[in-house]
């Protein structure tokens, strides 16, 4: 996954469970990574515009969810964003920004509606040549849900996994108190903006400080692209965290809400009950949804507004 994972597991078979968790993650990476040429996603990408490819149940499941979340907020989240990501990746190497014409040409390729899923045949395919899938905003979330399944299978009592910043908790801490998950401060590397107390929830954060660079014009360019404009999202937010019982949903929604901005994001959040959000705006003001009122603890000097 190209990220660091940390796990903490309590239970009789904790050690065996950890081995199984690592195996599961490796297995999923083998299916879903677009950086591994033999993965199912890479095969779909190579066959874009030519044919559909048979896929495993896992791949099918995550693609179906990805389409669902792309449909949930069109223009905020799109699973076929890879061609744009590639464009910005090249730009990043030279600290430039992609030529406008290149972005204009690439934008029509970003269209989740051209991802064809056939549940009968268990195949997936992209209609147009040049299209490709990037599970960046959802793959880790899916892995989190699968890890929870492994915890269950091994009769784990209490655990958490941190998959490159996505925190999945299973039950409470061994002493029965909730896990305390820190929320990274978007501007100070060794600081937190606050923490949330959770048990059995996932906490995923999307921020403009992750994988960013400053281009030669002095503009901060981060990795979360707006699929509608082709440029890094500028919604007035610097960080969005989602607290949810579903890890995949938390992952997809943190990206979605980061791009959508606070107002539109809150609107699309309404469709997901028991899903809470923490927004940080450019002035480093923190806004939390009602359900986090007693679960979010701001760090010293951080102002918090509870949203209605």
């Amino acid at each position: 996954m190209g990220t660091v994972m940390t796990h903490r597991v309590f239970g009789e078979y904790a050690e065996e469970c950890l081995a199984a968790v690592c195996e599961e993650v490796r297995h999923l990476e083998g299916l879903l990574s677009r950086f591994l040429p033999e993965s199912e996603i890479s095969r779909i990408n190579r066959s874009a515009g030519i044919k559909s490819e048979p896929v495993s149940f896992s791949t099918y499941q995550v693609l179906a969810k990805a389409v669902e979340f792309s449909r949930n907020c069109p223009g905020c989240f799109d699973v076929t964003i890879a061609p744009l990501v590639a464009l910005w990746h090249i730009a990043r190497e030279t600290l430039a920004q992609p030529p406008e014409s290149a972005i204009r040409q690439t934008l029509p390729l970003v269209d989740y509606r051209a991802l064809v899923l056939d549940p009968g045949q268990m195949t997936a395919g992209l209609r147009h040549a040049g299209q490709s899938i990037d599970l960046g905003g959802i793959g880790k979330g899916y892995a989190g849900d699968r890890i929870l399944e492994v915890f269950k299978q091994f009769g784990v009592l209490s655990a958490y996994s941190n998959l490159g910043g996505n925190v999945v908790t299973f039950g409470a801490r061994p002493d029965g108190t909730p896990w305390r998950v820190g929320i990274q401060h978007p501007r100070r590397q060794d600081s937190l903006i606050g923490s949330v107390s959770v048990a059995g929830h996932t906490v995923v954060t999307s921020g403009d400080y992750q994988r960013c660079y400053t281009d030669r014009q002095g503009k901060n360019r981060h990795h979360i692209l707006n699929p509608a404009t082709g440029y890094p999202a500028e919604s007035g937010l610097v960080s969005v965290s989602i607290v949810s019982q579903n890890s995949l949903a938390a992952d997809a929604l943190s990206t979605t809400l980061f791009v959508a901005g606070m107002e539109k994001g809150l609107e699309s959040l309404k469709k997901f009950p028991h899903t809470e959000a923490i927004f940080v705006d450019a002035g480093l003001r923190v806004y939390i949804t009602q359900g986090l009122r007693y679960r979010f603890h701001a760090d010293r000097g951080i102002g918090v507004t509870v949203l209605d």
Partner: protein, 135 residues
């Protein structure tokens, strides 16, 4: 018939008494809800043991006293020393105190949104240096 009228009167009286009682109660609740808590600057605490008291609102139902210990600039202990509430044990004040103690340092189990990669690299370097020290 007389019996019904008496019953009705009793019900009405109870209703009036109840609504008067309720309005007083809700005033009291309102007061408790709007209780201002001034921000304490946890950065500027002198070591020592301090007593605190709250007189308990309009009916003194919530009167209580506590003792706070500060060591090395941090709140390390809070004890309830007196309370008029006979059910104080059930209010979970201990959990609340624990939260105050924890919150000042924001001790967390793990961090969401941290780009851990750079730290992981540094950790490896540190581990290497530790070995180098022993060698």
């Amino acid at each position: 018939m007389i019996g019904w009228i008496i019953a009705l009167i009793v019900v009405v009286m109870l209703g009036i008494a109840g609504s008067i009682g309720w309005s007083k109660l809700s005033k009291e609740h309102q007061e408790a809800r709007n209780l201002p808590l001034d921000a304490v600057d946890f950065n500027k605490l002198d070591d020592g043991t301090y007593q605190g008291a709250y007189e308990g609102g309009m009916y003194k139902w919530r009167a209580n006293e506590c003792q706070v210990t500060v060591a090395n600039g941090k709140v390390t202990d809070i004890q309830l020393t007196a309370s008029v509430d006979p059910g104080a044990e059930k209010t979970g004040y201990q959990t609340l105190y624990d939260r105050v103690i924890q919150a000042q340092s924001l001790q967390v189990d793990t961090v969401s949104g941290a780009t851990l990669t750079s730290k992981a690299y540094l950790q490896a370097v540190e581990n290497a240096l530790l070995q180098a020290q022993q060698g």
